[in-house]
């Protein structure tokens, strides 16, 4: 077998492995529940968009999707702003001796604590603040998680940018914050994009806190709302598949939007 044929076969195999789950998800979303559970067909024999229609007319999926978009946008945006400034401070300023070189690790430790460990305290905190089942409660929770991740990730991006550029700007009369905003931040844009996409992915798909902190379609996010399709006796697989397809679209769209920056971001900073 020639190298060329082997390469083609390998490509086909890899594509099949990667695309099969996506095909199966889309295909299942176009079948009826009867066809899914009782017939197990390879492709939809009677394709139907009823599952998509049912999601929005009967299952309040529009609210779940809206909640996910709003909560993800604000929590990631706030975390990026706060995180970028925090990371810049760690990268540029001398810290008290005991903290030098340890802040990043400390923040990372906060991020990797299993969320279930702090689930009950967070629930009680939100209860006492009257923020259960609200956008604000979720945004506050996700921002807290995201900001630690953003600081940890952005710190190394800022370290990559020569401090001389800011100093030159300040010699020319710019303030420290102005130099940060006009010189450093634009140069760190690829890192910012890479950080944003990871934060968006984690936030948009988060389930555990959404499960504990929300109860109604007013605040339930997309993964949380999709779980309501699982019944005691029967599960609405068709609607769940349709939800999976729709839920993937914003992430795909966002990834396409920032992919150029993401590629640049991955070649600098922490993951260089």
């Amino acid at each position: 077998m020639s190298t060329r044929v082997a390469r083609i076969l390998t490509t086909i195999f890899v594509l099949a492995v990667v695309l099969l789950p996506i095909y199966w998800l889309v295909s299942t979303s176009l079948k009826s529940n009867r066809e899914i559970t009782q017939e197990g067909t390879l492709y939809p024999h009677v394709p139907t968009f009823d599952n998509y229609v049912r999601l929005f007319t009967e299952k309040q999926f529009g609210s779940y999707l809206t909640n996910s978009l709003v909560v993800t946008f604000f929590s990631v945006a706030i975390a990026l702003v706060a995180g970028a400034m925090g990371a810049y401070a760690i990268a540029r300023f001398r810290l008290p001796l005991a903290m030098e070189g340890k802040v990043g690790l400390f923040l990372l430790t906060l991020r990797i604590i299993p969320p279930v460990v702090i689930l009950i305290p967070v629930y009680l905190l939100m209860l006492s603040l009257g923020l259960l089942d609200s956008w604000l409660g979720l945004i506050a929770t996700y921002t807290a998680f995201n900001v630690t991740f953003c600081v940890w990730m952005m710190e190394s991006f800022f370290r990559e940018i020569p401090v001389d550029l800011e100093e030159a700007a300040m010699v020319d009369g710019d303030s420290r914050f102005g130099a940060f905003r006009r010189i450093t931040l634009p140069l760190a844009a690829p890192g910012l994009a890479a950080t944003a996409i990871f934060a968006v992915l984690v936030t948009f798909n988060e389930f555990l806190f959404a499960l504990a902190l929300t109860a109604t379609p007013r605040a339930m996010t997309m993964p949380r709302g999709t779980a309501t399709l699982i019944g005691r006796i029967d599960t609405d697989w068709a609607s769940m598949s349709a939800a999976g397809v729709i839920g993937a679209l914003p992430i795909v769209f966002f990834a396409l939007l920032v992919q150029r920056h993401l590629v640049r971001g991955l070649t600098m900073g922490a993951v260089k």
């Binding site: 009867r34 009782q38 019944g231 005691r232 029967d234 920032v258």
Partner: protein
């Protein structure tokens, strides 16, 4: 001039603001009208289950005609108990009404987080109630053993039956041509004839997944063989000779006549086997049974009939009703009690029966046109025997311990009796630790 696709900070901020405004507007527009309507607001929490379909489709619109502003919030079964219990204990006040699974009542009762519905004006002594169903609404129980700490407490009506779900038999009328099989031996023997004739692939199907699924499937076999779960001192007696015989039959004979892989079957696979035309008989709750006449939901519409659970000594199934409780933290408490009074009235129960759901008042079983063929059979099953699970707050743990051992025996295809001995010891140890003796 060339158009640049560069992502600028300005475009991100503009896009983000636009998105936020658009989503806010969408959410406002997308809110259910009921959430904004004036009226007697009642927020009902329920776990997703096909048994509630007639209630959602037919009774909620009726309630709205009565002036109730119903917000019906469904959630996944596996999380609702913890979710609602946390809601009730913390006083979060997110619900006016929980539609509980009846084994959860002792846990809520022992925690004292539900309203006294008797004091609210709901008459538990009304003779029209199905007695075994209204009994499940009292904590501590009016009859049978009580857990420690509640021996002398006065029984209080903390829940009212909502949908009278219970196990019955669903069978293929082209296989069991003489009507419902009367005994478990009939199920197997006639089922094998159906397999030989090419009408079905398996005589029987059930759930084998560890925990609640396998225990729920084994339970009617256990009861029909004459088993009892606890004595009046909470000592496990399910490993009696009758219990062991039922377990051996379940993990041996029944497994041999069920689909391959039944050890991993849960309700989806079980439902697919009977509704897809592969299995001859099944014991099931109403969720899947309600689909039996709908060609969009089953390949064998018209070939499925209902009957009483087969017997060995007796014909007893498990009762697992939807039961409604009002949390003390309910934001619209008075509305929810008023709604319950309306819902359990003979008139509304008759409407529920017409809609195809199993009612909780005896008069509603006798209406001229019940909406589902299952309803008269459900009454026959109630009269033949239908028992609730033991009234202890620790039932979930007991079920888990038993389910693990039964599942192991099912995997092996033998040793059901020994599995019960092991489980009985584990249950006894657990309840000892929990202070039952």
């Amino acid at each position: 001039m060339m158009h640049s696709s560069r992502l600028t900070r300005r475009s991100v901020i503009k896009g983000g603001l636009g998105l936020a405004l658009a989503t806010t507007a969408l959410t406002t527009l997308g809110l259910p009208i009921s959430a904004r309507a004036a009226g007697k607001k009642v927020i009902i929490g329920a776990f997703a289950d096909g048994g509630l379909t007639p209630f959602k489709q037919k009774i909620i619109p009726l309630a709205k005609e009565q002036g109730f502003d119903i917000e019906f919030l469904e959630d996944e079964y596996g999380v609702t108990l913890e979710k609602w219990f946390a809601d009730a204990q913390s006083g979060a006040g997110q619900y006016d009404l929980y539609l509980l699974d009846d084994p959860w009542v002792p846990q809520f009762g022992a925690a004292n987080v539900l309203e006294d519905l008797g004091a609210g004006g709901i008459d538990g002594s009304d003779k029209d109630w199905i007695g075994s169903m209204i009994d499940m609404g009292y904590w501590p129980p009016q009859k049978g053993p009580r857990v420690k700490g509640f021996e002398s407490a006065k029984p209080t009506l903390i829940c009212v039956p909502f949908v009278g779900d219970l196990q019955t038999l669903t069978y293929r009328n082209d296989v069991f041509t003489d009507g419902a099989p009367k005994t478990w031996d009939d199920v197997i023997a006639k089922g094998k004839e159906g397999v030989a004739a090419g009408k079905i692939k398996y005589p029987v199907v059930f759930r084998g997944v560890s925990g609640n699924p396998i225990v729920t499937s084994w339970y009617p076999v256990f009861l029909s063989f004459g088993g009892s779960f606890f004595d009046d001192k909470w000592n496990p007696i399910f490993n009696s000779a009758e219990g062991k015989a039922s377990a051996d039959f379940f993990v041996g004979t029944m497994k041999q006549n069920a689909p391959n892989g039944v050890v991993e079957f849960d309700s989806d696979q079980e439902g697919a086997a009977i509704l897809g035309g592969d299995a001859g008989a099944i014991i099931q709750y109403s969720g899947n049974a309600l689909k039996a006449d709908d060609p969009a939901q089953t390949k064998v519409a018209g070939k499925l009939d209902f009957g009483v659970v087969p017997k060995q000594q007796s014909a007893i199934g498990q009762m697992g009703i939807f039961i409604a409780g009002v949390p003390k933290s309910a934001p619209n408490k008075a509305n929810s009690i008023e709604f319950l009074k309306w819902y359990v009235s003979a008139e509304t129960q008759a409407k529920l029966s017409e809609a195809g759901s199993i009612p909780v008042k005896r008069s509603a079983f006798g209406i001229a046109k019940p909406g589902n063929r299952l309803i008269p059979v459900a009454l026959q099953q109630l009269d033949a025997g239908s028992l609730p699970r033991p009234r202890t707050p620790d039932w979930a743990k007991v079920e888990e311990l038993l389910g693990i051992e039964l599942n192991k025996a099912l995997q092996a295809g033998s040793g059901g009796g020994a599995a019960l001995d092991t489980a009985a010891k584990q249950v006894k140890d657990y309840l000892t630790t929990a202070g039952y003796y």
